[in-house]
């Protein structure tokens, strides 16, 4: 069962690579895609298309001067949907990896960093697919989502991998399921929230006339407004879960296991820092006098603190949360 899990991981990664290739193909050959056109009315001199927020029924009309001549756009769109299909398959195989891993270990697959990263990325991809099913226009962000998945799963499989083993006594608690599932869920959504946040910054820079890399990518991502709203919703959804998982369920468990509900263990310090930074983002986003780009930068910093907590703390510091197996 453990070997099956390892093989499924390889298949999942390969499927994500396929998704990435599909998205990249659409990105590269999909001349001024529907999304890009709808989102960039200033660049496309075609009034009929302005504000066409979503329905992918409008065919591209005008090739703009700085792009290569368009191949048949329909084919590029197929590449995009192929990528989405590959992502769905990858997510299913990804789930299979987790389930078989859990079955092999006779427990929830959250016992070490390898399994944790696998779970967080699964939450991320599931949240992505849910958002995508409601909002087709953001399909182009899939390239970055798939790229992140390949990188994270690659790191998990090559660097963080440990053999299946039962939990150490400290992890044998009901709170293991509660605390870790909430942490996995919120981390996954925060990590996904970074994608529209970064795209928003690129897009709004593009809208202000910046054309250098990475702002040049802005031509092909959804409108800044939509990205900003999506960023906010994802963060507003994840924040209470993070509050519950890291700052309520975690301390309840810590009291039973270590005798104190909060002791400034490195992991606790960074959970606190992430919470503070994301609280800052939500405040900044709700304050009209703070620019949206400033607020979104705070969300990006929050994402960096999450990465620090996930990788940095396990690798650089020793503390009570040292279950990573590194």
């Amino acid at each position: 069962m453990a070997a099956l899990s390892d093989q499924l991981l390889v298949i999942a990664i390969m499927s994500y690579v396929a998704a990435m290739v599909g998205h990249a193909a659409e990105y590269a050959f999909g001349q001024r895609s529907h999304v890009g056109r709808a989102a960039a009315p200033a660049v496309v001199p075609e009034p009929a298309l302005v504000g066409a927020g979503g329905p992918p029924a409008v065919e591209p009309v005008l090739p703009s001067s700085f792009d290569p001549p368009p191949p048949a756009p329909d084919k590029a769109r197929y590449a995009g949907w192929f990528a989405v299909a590959a992502t769905v398959i990858a997510a299913l195989v990804h789930l299979g990896t987790l389930v078989t891993r859990g079955l092999a270990a006779h427990r929830m697959p959250w016992g070490n960093m390898y399994e944790f990263v696998l779970s967080v990325t699964f939450v991320g991809i599931t949240a992505w697919l849910v958002v995508l099913s409601r909002k087709h226009t953001i399909r182009h962000l899939g390239l970055f989502v798939a790229l992140a998945m390949v990188l994270l799963l690659g790191v998990a499989g090559m660097v963080l991998y440990v053999d299946v083993a039962p939990l150490v006594p400290a992890l044998k608690s009901t709170w293991f399921v509660v605390h870790v599932s909430a942490a996995v869920l919120s981390s996954g959504i925060f990590l996904l929230g970074f994608v529209p946040a970064a795209m928003f910054l690129i897009r709004s820079g593009y809208d202000r006339g910046k054309r250098s890399f990475p702002y040049s990518l802005g031509a092909r991502v959804p409108a800044a407004d939509a990205l900003d709203r999506l960023t906010f919703r994802l963060h507003a959804f994840a924040f209470p879960i993070w509050t519950f998982g890291a700052l309520i369920a975690g301390p309840i468990w810590a009291e039973a296991a270590w005798g104190r509900y909060w002791g400034w263990d490195p992991k606790e310090v960074w959970a606190f820092i992430s919470w503070i930074v994301y609280a800052g983002y939500l405040h900044a986003r709700a304050t009209p006098s703070v620019k949206r780009t400033t607020a979104t930068w705070i969300a990006v910093v929050g994402w960096l603190t999450m990465l620090m907590n996930l990788f940095g703390v396990n690798i650089f510091f020793t503390g009570l949360h040292s279950y990573g197996g590194l």
Binding site: A170, A257, W258
Partner: protein, 521 residues
Amino acid sequence: MTVVEEKPAPAPARRPNAAWALLRNSWRQLTSMRTALILLFLLAIAAIPGSVLPQRGVDAQNVDGYYAEHPTLAPILERLGAFEVFASPWFSAIYLLLFTSLIGCIIPRLRDHFRAMRMAPPAVPARLDRLPQHAVLTGTPDADAIAAVLRKRRWRVAVRGDTVSAEKGHLKETGNLLFHLALLAVLFGVAIGSWYGWHGNRLLVAGPDNAFCNTLQQYDESGLGARVDASDLPRFCLELTDFQAKFLATGQPESFRATARVDGGAPRSFSVNSPLRLDGANVYLLGHGYAPVIKYTDRYGRSQTTTAPFLSVDGMLTSEGVAAFPDANVDPKTGARDSKLQVAFEGLYLPTAPDTAPYTRSLFPAERSPALLLFAYRGNLGMDAGIPNSVYKLDQRQVTSGRLARIGDGKLLRVGEKWTLDDGTSVEFLGTKQYATLSVRYDPGEKPVLASAAVGLLGLMLSLTGRRRRVFFRVTTGRSTLVEAGGLPRTDYAGFAEEFAQLVKDVEDRDSEGPVNGRTV
């Protein structure tokens, strides 16, 4: 019906006093969102050294280690409070300012919210078609019928003549305020815990001879809250009767279970994640290890036995420690102690020793083939100098100065084996006892903090999911009756258009069946 309140006219402006103006402006600065955001950021940044540098509150030994590694830098960091970041003046200053800013922010908002909750929704604007949502109704319901529909859907309604104003979503602000008040309550609970809480950590060897009672002197390390006196500690005595550790074939621990007798009562077992909850204190199991029992027979033939807890250095419980016999070789006739003839053994205990040398590492954490590697030392142990010293290590100053000298090479002893030293004295390894490291703690702030955190989470969810919105209806009676509706979301709310359309439809539906009801009543 709801009474429409008039806002009192603003008081006439007075010439401000300069000092008062400065004070007021500083207060406004402090309570502004920009300042709050900056303080939040400072708090996040200030917490970083707490994870990078060793913290005394987390592990005091690591701080000592840092001192040894960075002898010049450490005292400077110490003065900056870098080893106690979360108790340092600068960290406290940031969060106290932040909480002051928070109070300054929520008090006016509480007042405004209280007022808004009691106030009727505002009057209907002149141009409903300018609002984000606008509809002209098909039927001709009157204002009271519209109000009835809205009230049924739990809107707050004000009817003014032929107009209806309604509002919903005050829970958002209620939740927001609740969340921030809960943060204050959390801080208060933490303060209670640090004032009235206490803790003590100690290593407890199994057996009735090693039982301890809950007094400060009995702890290896302890901390009392600011308002706690040593005599306030509850009285109880604890004896570790048994300790069971199970391991997997790989050596990974599977379970730990300690059994203890409190005040001579029936044995109660506790484990990691399931502490021993006593009245007024909890006992937590933090770790475990082995304490070899070593018997030394001196040159006068007198035997002494010591149980020396050894500290584990790896996952296989290879353990290091010292068995000291400061009272060895005391002449029984004169009672004079020869400080040059004190004896100590530095030891390496291997619960599962390899069959052949080198005997440096245990192969398994359970005692499958226990062996004790001893190095004997004779001389002055330096225990009378009054300088505190670790009981797990020999005083290296005595060794380097030559006052304490090693005798011969190390010797591996299995259980029951005896080693005779060059002076005819002998040492015998009798076996081992289990020990557990325990933390005894009491924190009266826990429950208030948990309750506040739960309330805070509830408030947070209300605040993030709540949506304030207003709808207005105007019935214009002229040559023909026209009913108009307008909707205004006060917060980002994507589903408002659907809700508004549904509401308008409900009003229309109710209107079409209204006359029927009217006739029957």
